[in-house]
Symmetry: C2
Subunit: 196 residues, 2 copies
Amino acid sequence: MQNEIIEKLIEQFRTLPGVGYKSAQRYAYSVLEGSISRAQNFANALLEAKQKIKFCKVCGNFTDGEVCSICQKRNRKVICVVKEPKDVISMEKVKDYDGVYHVLFGTISPLENRGPEDIHIKELLQRVNADGVQEVIMATNPDVEGDATAMYIARLLSPLGVKVTRLAQGVAMGSDLEYADEVTLSRALEERRELK
Amino acid sequence: MQNEIIEKLIEQFRTLPGVGYKSAQRYAYSVLEGSISRAQNFANALLEAKQKIKFCKVCGNFTDGEVCSICQKRNRKVICVVKEPKDVISMEKVKDYDGVYHVLFGTISPLENRGPEDIHIKELLQRVNADGVQEVIMATNPDVEGDATAMYIARLLSPLGVKVTRLAQGVAMGSDLEYADEVTLSRALEERRELK
C-alpha cells in the first residue's frame, strides 16, 4: 500500500527481465533518494537510446546509423546467425572472428505460434544470394528451438551450395563433469574428436 | 566495445543498487527491443516520481503532498524512528502498528564522517517536545551504527521523560531491515525493550 506515483515507477522497473517486486522497489527508492539530475539523465538515456538506436539494415544488430560498424568493416563472406542482438555481444568476445552477423529476432517455436515467416529467415536467404556467402555459422542457442531453427535453415541453404556449420556442443570449458546434464554429456560423447 | 549511446544507457542502469554490468546490459537491451512507448512511459515514470514525490514535512517519509498519509491519520504519540524512507515500508508490514514514523536519513557513522548533526535528530527532538510524545521506538538497523545511533538518541531523550524503546534483537545481527520477513519484524516490535 504505497503512493500511486511510486507504484507506477516500481511497475516500470518490474518490466525489466528478471526483476521482481522487491528489486523494483529498491531501484525506485534509489531513484527517489537520488538527485533530480540523476533521474533526468536516466530518463534522457532511455529516450535517446530508443530514439537513436535502430536495427542495422543488413544484419539486424543495434546501430545508430543505417549499417552497423561490423557490417561496414568485416568479411561479408561468413555470416554468424544468432537469435537476438545481445547474442552478437556474446559472440564478439571471440576475438578472432572476422565475419559478420545475422539476427533472426527469435527462433521457430510451434508452442509460441512462431513459424519460419515470423523471424528474419527471408532476409538471410537474400544476403546469401546477394553477397556470395561462403559459410553460414548457426549460433542459435543449444536448446530444442535453437537446434530446430538451425536445422530448418541448413536445409533451406543446402541447395544454394553454401557451407552451413553449427557451434560445437559439449561440456563447457572450466566446468565439472559431475554437474553436466545427460543431454550435454551425450552430445559431447557423440561429437568426440580424435586427439592427435 | 559497444555503441556509445547503448553504453550510456547501460551506465544508467548500473547506478541502481546491486546491478552489475551484465544485468545492466540485459536491462538496456530489453528497453531497446521494446516499443518506443514503453521507453517513454519508463522515462515519464522516472521524471514524475522524482518531481512529484517529496519528503513529508513532519516525518521525512515519501509523499506527494505536504504531509504524508501516515502522519495525517495515525497516533502521533508514538514515533518509530527509522534510518531511511524504505524502512517505513518494511515496518508497515506490521499491521497493528498505529503510530507514526521519523526518518533519520542515515545513522551516526564516524567512519563516514557523519555526526549527529548530519542526520534528522534535531527534528525528532522538536517533534517530541511539540507533540507530547509518549514513546519513541528506535527501529534503526540492528548493526553497529544503528545500535550506536539508537543509544545516542535514547540518551538525548531521557531528560524529556519520554519512554525510548528499541526493536528486540529478533532481527538478525548484521542484516538489513529491508530484507527482514514479517514474522521477524512483528516479533521484534512486540518485544521492544526500554533503553536506559
